[in-house]
């Protein structure tokens, strides 16, 4: 670990097979973007399925969309956008050696994530009560046209996969919060925090597309 000490870094940050921190940072960022590319393609499959069935059933999709809670969807959009800002600010504060401000920003982000899931749970509960459910479980009284069950299948698949990513993002935020409190990040090294934040931004980006496509047809 001597070359870490030479670089003035705490132990456990610079791996021995990297000649310098800037090279390690670059490799970390490239790896994270490769992972995010696979995530983008994962969601692209669902968006393609959505495109196919929206094209086939334009009226059913528009009708079902108008039975979603637009207000809750809009509030959730604002929640995720604000949480993206707090993650970006956490990285900013860590870069300026303000560890406590960074930790507060991460805690606020995790609270926003809970708020998002809570609002989503309210919406899901309503869907279960009115039986606007996927596939053969669909028994929604207000929309009884072909394609409506497919809209709700895609709705639950897309928001469900997105919700799983929110939960995964909360775990990631928890880890980077712990590392922040352990004083791991500073102006000299903050790449781990930056990459964790990027995952959260991806979750936000997916919702940016889900919101108009599901709630505002």
């Amino acid at each position: 670990m001597s070359h870490e000490a030479e670089a003035g870094l705490p132990p456990g940050i610079l791996a021995h097979h990297f000649s310098s921190l800037s090279r390690q940072n670059e490799a970390m960022r490239l790896g994270m973007w490769l992972f995010l590319a696979t995530e983008i393609l994962l969601f692209a499959g669902l968006f393609t399925g959505y495109a196919v069935y929206r094209f086939q059933f334009p009226e059913a999709f528009a009708e079902c969309s108008r039975h979603l809670e637009l207000t809750l969807g809009t509030v959730n959009t604002l929640v995720l956008i604000t949480s993206s800002l707090t993650v970006a600010l956490a990285i900013h504060y860590a870069r300026n050696n303000r560890r406590h401000a960074a930790a507060v920003c991460l805690v606020i982000t995790i609270l926003f994530a809970f708020a998002f899931l809570g609002i989503k749970a309210v919406e899901y509960t309503a869907h279960f009560h009115e039986r606007s459910l996927p596939g053969k479980y669909y028994a929604f009284e207000e929309v009884k046209i072909p394609g409506a069950a497919m809209f709700f299948s895609l709705y639950f698949l897309m928001t469900g996969l997105h919700g799983l990513h929110v939960i995964a993002g909360m775990v990631v935020l928890g880890f980077i919060l712990r590392h922040t409190l352990q004083n791991r990040y500073s102006s000299r090294y903050y790449t781990g925090l930056e990459l964790g934040g990027m995952y959260w931004h991806l979750v936000d980006m997916v919702w940016i597309f889900l919101y108009p496509l599901l709630y505002l047809i």
């Binding site: 670059e26 983008i40 692209a44 809009t74 970006a88």
Partner: protein, 139 residues
Amino acid sequence: MSESAPPAGRPTQALHPDDENGEHAHSAVPYIVVYFALLFFTVLTYLTGKQHLGTWALPIALVIACTKSALVALIFMHLKDSSGSTRLVFGTSLVFVALLLFFTVADVATRFHPATPAGAPFGTERSQPEGLLEHELPE
């Protein structure tokens, strides 16, 4: 990846200048500006979406969503300051998303009636006729 293992003779230069001179203060102003831009575009999506603008509703919604995502990727995710290799990865994924969407939608848009799902409106039944659907095959 050639990027992660450059030739030994190449000088180790900082791709991210801020990494090397950490004492240089980093500004939060771009994040705040992007945040308010995202709020503005969210309101715009909400207002245009509620109008139900017919044919133009989807293109408008997608253009706004793409603009918002570009702001998040470039500023929040620092793609603006990233090296060419990370931009290449992101750009490549977008190219493949475009290929997937384009060929799938082109397939669906040029189908003849028996190949569409049961109950799907077709041809003149559609409230918003799409140009490609107009040629129905002779029975």
